[in-house]
Amino acid sequence: MGRELIDAIVAMDDKKALQITQDLLDQGVAPNKILTDCQTAMEEVGSKFEKCEYFLPELIMSGEILKQITEIIKPELDSTTGNGKKKGKIVFGTVFGDIHDIGKDIVIFMLESNNFEVVDLGVDVPIEKFVESIKTEAPDILGMSGFLTKTFDAMKDTISGISEAGLRNNVKIMIGGGTVTEDIVDYAGADAFGETAMDAVTLAKAWMGGNKNE
């Protein structure tokens, strides 16, 4: 039955996935087991996205199915959910002056489906909020997104703010989005640029494999 649920999610069949979830609950299957199947399904969706078999609509649709399943099983859920050890912690946000979120959300989806813990600061994030989050969340990596050409300076200013707070060596910084190119890495003082969501995953994996302060 677990495989059936996974297949229904991966096939984007929302009605079937919800029906199976209800059936599983009626049969007394533990909600945590259902969530684990959902996690497997999301990993398969992410993997198809990496292989260019799936695109943005499938990410959004599977996210919607997951949300609906979670709503059904929430009342039954105990507090022992756990998805194993995370590969690393990443704080992510769209820099100040910019309210675009599509690129950021895709990257976060892919990082989460690759078992990274992501703290989403949202859009139009002020410098102080990035600085504060490095102190409170102690992330390994900071991701900054921006769509407008104006964000090159926002990225630069944000990284300067982090340096002034003496925190630059605490995190690796990746940037990307809309008009951002490789040139902006040096301009803004970041560590790396990613063109696609998978670039972000590759970078994060590479960084977590080595010493983050190197």
Binding site: F55, L56, P57, M61, I99, T149, D183, T196
Partner: protein
């Protein structure tokens, strides 16, 4: 028209027809840049039409490109218009954003999935009474109007309308519209004067009005990206029916704008059809048929479509080979130049070549190198030099180096 104008026109027309011009035309999509070079804030660009017109005029006269961009592009209606309407689906400098931050759209699910039936049954009724009050908070009164179908009652229906129009909220909304119209008209009159003045001095505006693909209208304006992408799985037939309803609006709007402005080049900014936004199969079902039809219908109406392929279109490029040859300008953002030349060299004139980021952060040397490579890739034929997207920020010396280098390398 004057000689300078005719020279540029011939250069562009030859390029569109895939013939070799005297040199590669340069299209400068200036967007907010004149505010920077002329020292006005973005708030002033939105609120002071005289200052904005003056800044654009000085900019175009100074840099003298073969084509410049319409000055409404970053403004989308004067700031006063949006203050009066209480616009919610956009934020703008000096209004709902700080004075020097570029405008941005606030995408939302302004039409719910369950409302497709209302939209399909009577789009105008839905748009006026339901959608408009959601995106303009000061037009809430229109939600109090009776269904527009009551107009079928003719003189019998007047009591119904008489009652509704007397409601204070409706009166308020109508007054707002009338007040707004003065500012909208002022902007249009002054921008129209600018286009005429610049034409008299030999300058060509690349396009005067944007026309959206029906999928993008629904995705950008009505359902939001998330909404339309769920619709692709959950209610695909309704999504397609809604596009069918909207298609005549896109086409008719383009033809009407061309007639009103006398500019036969039609700018079509494309959003959700780019690589990565949907699969090739979804592109074939939801996007390509309407894009192809829009371009073909515009060509048949003797207009020159100028689709802006934002993002990359490398996975879609084979589809573009089906378009009529030598009839449109394809403006490309990040697609590979060699691939564009190889696949589209005999199909459409390609406008591309300069990453907007390089004009902001590069050097004279890097800009010249990039320009030379782009010009050489196309061998000076069927190619318009432009930036990857509209230019909000750039170093003036890099801008000048880019323009000079384009003429230098393509005249050799």
């Amino acid at each position: 028209m004057n000689e300078k104008y005719e020279q540029k026109r011939k250069r562009i027309d030859d390029t569109i027809a895939l013939k070799k011009p005297d040199h590669v035309p340069i299209f400068l999509p200036q967007s907010y840049l004149p505010a920077r070079t002329e020292g006005i804030t973005l708030k002033e660009a939105h609120y002071d039409v005289d200052a904005w017109v003056r800044a654009n005029k000085n900019f175009v006269l100074k840099y003298d490109p073969d084509m410049y961009f319409f000055i409404e592009a970053p403004i989308n209606g004067a700031g006063q218009v949006h203050d009066i309407l209480g616009t919610l689906a956009m934020k703008w400098p000096g209004g709902t954003l700080p004075d020097d931050v570029p405008f941005q759209f606030v995408e939302g699910e302004y039409m719910l999935q369950g409302e497709y039936d209302h939209f399909l049954d009577d789009p105008s009724d839905f748009l006026l009474r339901v959608f408009t009050p959601r995106v303009f908070k000061n037009l809430e009164g229109f939600s109090k109007l009776p269904p527009l179908k009551n107009l079928a009652l003719g003189c019998y229906g007047t009591p119904v309308y008489g009652m509704a129009m007397a409601a204070p909220e409706v009166v308020e909304s109508i007054e707002r519209l009338m007040e707004m119209s003065k500012h909208a008209l002022n902007f249009t009159v002054k921008s129209g004067q600018l286009y005429a003045e610049l034409a008299a001095e030999g300058h060509i505006c690349a396009a005067n009005a944007p026309v959206l693909h029906p999928f993008d209208i629904i995705s950008d304006m009505l359902r939001g990206m998330r909404g339309t992408m769920l619709d692709m799985f959950q209610v695909p037939d309704k999504l397609i029916s809604a596009m069918e309803k909207l298609y005549p609006l896109s086409l008719g709007g383009a033809i009407g704008a061309a007639q009103a402005t006398g500019n036969n080049q039609i700018f079509i900014p494309l959003h959700r059809g780019a690589d990565g936004f949907m699969s090739p199969k979804q592109f074939e079902q939801f996007y390509w048929p309407y894009l192809k039809k829009l371009i073909e219908d515009l060509v048949n109406a003797n207009l020159v479509p100028m689709p802006f392929f934002e993002g990359t279109y490398e996975q879609r490029i084979d589809y573009l080979q089906d378009l009529p040859a030598g009839k449109c300008i394809g403006w490309f953002d990040r697609s590979d130049l060699n691939l564009l030349k190889e696949k589209l060299g005999d199909i459409m004139c390609v406008a591309a070549g300069m990453p907007a980021s390089l004009l902001q952060t590069g050097t004279v040397e890097s800009v010249r190198k990039q320009t030379k490579e782009a010009v050489n890739t196309f061998e000076g034929k069927g190619f318009i030099m432009t930036s990857s997207t509209v230019i909000d920020e750039a170093k003036p010396e890099l801008l000048q180096a880019w323009i000079d280098a384009t003429r230098e390398f393509s005249s050799q």
